[in-house]
Amino acid sequence: MKPAPFEYVRADTVPEALAALGGADDARVLAGGQSLVPIMALRLATPEVLVDVSRAPELREHRSDGGVLTVGAGVTDRELELDAGVRAAHPLLVRTLSLIAHPEIRARGTLCGSLAHADPAAELPALLLATDGEVEVAGDAGRRRVPAAEFVTGPFTTALADGEMVVAAHLPLPGPGSGWAVDEIARRPGDYALAGVVCGVELDGAGRCAGARVALFGVAATPVRAHGAERVLDGAVPDDAALDAAAAAAFDGVDVIGDEVHASAGYRRRAGAALVRRALTAAVRAAGEGA
């Protein structure tokens, strides 16, 4: 099994990448290649041109300022998880990265590539959704920022237009007084999730929940916010009864997709609710410790 022939362009700048993307009918960005190359080896994709952006210096940077971590499209998962600054500023991201595949995959896979790939079972799009992050997109018309909730539009489908690329992701850092957790059910470490959740809880001075964010992955066509669970928690004291009720409501309005091979919709719903309960408990505990 071998990919079909293609033309390879190594872009050293964003304008070079955009020119190459615009120059062919079927050109695709190559970042870490950890999703694209398997798909090409299986001939599920046969792009004419691959535009390699992984070595462009301007995309190889990450920085945090003003409470936001900005990650360029050439930054690998492994660079982020081993970086002392990132580990201190965004432990939730580091924990989320550790759930993705194996270190050998993360050594090349990029955060922005995972967002652009938009696998419904992927962890990072759900993290972006739960934390209200943004995707910075460049195209011929210039740059624009797309909120997480508008970026993933379907399975493996995003708001990127033809000829556009992701240049960076903007990840708001978890604030003080809030607690976060990420968890998933997978058959083996490194496998895609059969159900997963990223959640955060903010407590006010009286110990009430001043805001809850719950995003599910691996259960629907896209990552989704569990608005049912969020509504139950808003303004409530997050005791056992409230967390039980929140978990029970987590799948309200969520169109759960199951399959014969990995897990049925019923399994994802039930196991997913138990997972939400567990993650919310961890988030509330973390919020209490931080306050």
Binding site: P5, Q34, L42, D52, R78, I105, A107
Partner: protein, 182 residues
């Protein structure tokens, strides 16, 4: 830099030696090492990133040789299993595999060795549980993994991560100069 669909020149360092070869853009690094450079120690199994047989070290990080195109390795420093026994004798990690009988058919072994090498460079001391997870990206269909863990833990205790301390091997690999993941 634009490259047509036909073979292009790729320059890289392999086990500390400068190499030049020709590769079509679609040629993976694993194929390039095997077919263009004749280094058949790197094995190719699933060709979709799942089994780990093709694992090589690029600029200090263990990566899938089947998920990187050779053109992407231009200018990089690559280490393969051949670099472990560069001086002819076995590398301490290889000796530990031998002693623990950590291989049967040997198909997975080059990939496991390169993953384990990087794991031991990250830190020599591992708990069995943590090492189990650290090596979980490499499939072995023969050993049941238990003897592999024995071997890598023993190699860690013997200091195999520093590129060879028994004088028998490792000196030829660029390992010690640029150890550690990027």
């Amino acid at each position: 830099m634009t490259v047509a669909g036909e073979p292009v020149r790729v320059r890289l360092s392999v086990n500390g030696r400068a190499e030049v070869g020709l590769a079509e853009p679609r040629t993976t690094l694993a194929e390039f090492l095997r077919e263009e450079l004749g280094l058949t120690g790197t094995h190719v199994g699933c060709e979709q990133g799942v089994c780990g047989a093709c694992t090589v070290v690029v600029d200090g990080a263990a990566v899938r040789g089947c998920l990187m195109f050779a053109v992407q390795a231009d200018g990089r420093a690559v280490e393969t299993v051949e670099g472990l026994a560069a001086e002819g004798g076995m590398h301490p990690l290889q000796r530990a595999f031998w002693d623990a009988q950590a291989l049967q058919c040997g198909f997975c072994t080059p990939g496991l060795l390169m993953t384990a090498l990087v794991a031991l460079r990250e830190r020599p001391e591992w708990t069995r549980e943590a090492l189990r997870e650290r090596l979980s990206g490499n499939l072995c269909r023969c050993t049941g993994y238990s003897t592999v863990l024995d071997a890598v833990l023993a190699a860690g205790r013997a200091g195999a991560g520093d590129g060879g301390d028994d004088g028998s091997a490792g000196a030829g690999a660029p390992a010690s100069g640029e150890a550690g993941p990027r």
